[in-house]
């Protein structure tokens, strides 16, 4: 029984959070992928319907959402989903602020509050530090593509990480991000103990104590 529920967007976020919690020795959460950022409320309802006993004992719900290129709008969207699932009193006043409802609800924005991007962007520094040579090659490659002119941190992060993983994972250039975190064959592609993930791990560790 874990009285904490993490609702994330997709399966890859699920794997990332699972590995992060395990590696940083954070107390366990239920993790429920929603299948998209407009389906957080549905996922909460699914959890309620399928795990009633666990749902009744729920103390904290954390919605984990990507900022993409519009952090404010994406936070508002996460709040709208919380309102749909639990009502207006459960809506938090800002990212990483828990509401005073039961269960307490909070929103964790990825890569971090107010920072444009996604989970892929958050992983860039960890992947770069794990293999500096390939990292430099990928930087050069994206510079050649003039990726900075896309004016999208979110798409830039995705392109960078996808190129990096393809270059470093010869056995499976399409290696899914989730497998990169959790499959022993791919250990080291993105070291989850990297400092880039510390603030998220610290936030989740704080939830267990509230």
């Amino acid at each position: 029984m874990f009285p904490r529920l993490l609702i994330c967007e997709g399966a890859e976020d699920h794997w990332f959070l699972h590995k992060l919690i395990e590696t940083w020795k954070i107390q366990r959460f239920h993790i429920q992928p929603a299948g998209g950022n407009t389906k957080f409320a549905n996922a909460i309802s699914q959890f309620e319907l399928e795990k009633t006993t666990a749902f009744n004992g729920l103390a904290d719900v954390v919605v984990v959402a990507d900022n993409n290129d519009a952090p404010g709008a994406r936070f508002d969207n996460a709040c709208a989903e919380i309102r749909k699932a639990f009502g207006a009193s459960a809506v938090p006043s800002g990212p990483q602020v828990a509401s005073k409802s039961k269960p307490r609800c909070s929103v964790l924005m990825v890569p971090w509050t107010g920072v444009e991007g996604t989970l892929e962007g958050l992983c860039v520094d960890a992947a770069k530090d794990a293999d500096k040579t390939t990292g430099a090659h990928v930087d050069a490659f994206l510079a050649t593509l003039k990726a900075e002119t896309w004016q999208s941190n979110s798409r830039f992060g995705k392109a960078w990480l996808r190129s990096n993983l393809a270059a470093r994972c010869a056995v499976d250039p399409f290696v899914p991000l989730g497998k990169a975190f959790n499959d022993k064959k791919h250990a080291g592609l993105i070291p989850i103990k990297h400092k880039s993930f510390k603030q998220i791990a610290d936030f989740l560790a704080k939830v267990e104590k509230t």
């Binding site: 399966a11 794997w15 429920q32 299948g35 549905n42 309802s45 319907l49 006993t53």
Partner: protein, 364 residues
């Protein structure tokens, strides 16, 4: 409209307390969890004669022919209503609501009485009042009805109350008699609701051109005219499922503010008809202000029902019965949760174990 139900010592229920019935209630749960028993309990409490108990027994497939000592037969018929067949623990069913459904039924096994009618020629004409007594309470008023065992057989007493004629129970497997549907259609027509019923039914089955009451060897039957063959056919001859769907919609349309209980609503309904039938049920329920209690095993039907509800889910509740350690347990979910969960592909019919919450790589 029913708001709450308390059941004690009735069949599998040692105790069950339900508060917060919605206008439309969908009941799920595994076999033997008590879905049928719950509907039966409410139906029995809404009735006014022990004869309905015999009817429920027949709905469950029990024979209506008996042999042996009359007193023992009566005991045997009603014993199954007692929790664990313990005749010492009286079953009690309390219904709480806003109208005549506010009533309580106690089934008591007391001592049988022998009554000798004044005009009896011999003691063989004596009537035996069975030891099973049904007591209905409405407030402080008691209405008693028993089962008499006479030389001619059983006689079921009636409380004599004027009970509403718009409370119905449709068992899972029992066919709906043709005459019953014909009578109800005639009553709906007299009340001015025939056109709505016919147009709804035609939209469910596009081959139906018209529906009317016909006569078959002196018995009224509800018949449909086939648009293509131009032949009127009794609905019972066309399909048991269609006949049942018609019966349920007619029961709702018969009089406003009714209560309709349907066990296994999906029975006899082809999968492509789940959605239009669910839409018709919801529309009729709302327009006639009829409270529905629908049990189901079908996820397919639940999905259709959630889709049919669209955004109007405030009057719907999903109830899940599960076999508790000592007695079945009932959990309530709002229509909102039901709808959102279904959209996410949730398995709403049973609670999943609290397992490792990591998907397999094949989920990715």
């Amino acid at each position: 409209m029913l708001d709450a139900t308390w059941i004690e010592n009735f069949r599998c229920f040692r105790q069950l307390s339900i508060k917060g019935w919605a206008p439309v209630n969908v009941i799920v749960g595994e076999n033997g969890a008590g879905k049928t028993t719950l509907l039966e309990a409410m139906f029995l409490a809404m009735s006014g004669s022990p004869q309905k108990g015999l009817l429920l027994r027949q709905f469950r497939g029990n024979d209506a022919l008996f042999q042996g000592d009359p007193g023992a037969i009566v005991d045997a018929i009603y014993a199954e209503f007692f929790h664990r067949l313990d005749l010492g623990q009286s079953p009690e069913i309390k219904l709480r609501g806003k109208g005549q459904e506010n009533r309580t039924l106690k089934i008591i096994r007391g001592r049988g009485n022998v009554r000798i009618p004044r005009d009896a020629a011999t003691t063989k004409d004596a009537e035996i009042l069975s030891p099973i007594i049904f007591d209905w309470w409405t407030g402080k008023k008691r209405h008693t009805a028993g089962v008499k065992v006479t030389p001619k057989g059983f006689e079921f007493e009636n409380t004599g109350e004027q009970l509403p004629s718009n409370w119905f129970f449709y068992a899972a497997q029992t066919p709906v008699p043709a005459r019953e549907n014909a009578d109800r259609f005639a009553a709906v027509r007299r009340a001015g609701g025939a056109e709505k019923f016919v147009s709804t039914f035609k939209s469910l089955f596009d081959w139906i051109d018209d529906i009317f009451v016909d006569s078959s060897v002196g018995t009224p039957v509800l018949s449909a005219v086939d648009r293509y063959q131009r032949v009127p056919l009794p609905l019972t001859a066309v399909s048991g499922g269609i006949n049942r769907m018609a019966a349920i919609l007619l029961a709702i349309a018969l009089r406003p503010k009714g209560i309709v209980l349907v066990d296994e609503i999906e029975n006899g309904v082809f999968f492509t008809k789940h959605l239009p039938f669910a839409r018709a049920l919801l529309r009729f329920s709302r327009e006639y202000d009829c409270q529905l209690f629908l049990s189901t095993h079908s996820q397919e039907w639940l999905r259709a029902f959630a889709e049919a509800a669209e955004d109007r889910v405030a009057d719907i509740a999903l109830w899940r019965l599960s076999r508790g350690a000592k007695t079945p347990e009932m959990r309530r979910f709002t229509g909102h949760t039901f709808k959102l969960g279904i959209e996410q592909g949730a398995e709403v019919r049973r609670e999943k174990g609290d397992q490792e919450d990591v998907p397999s790589p094949s989920d990715m």
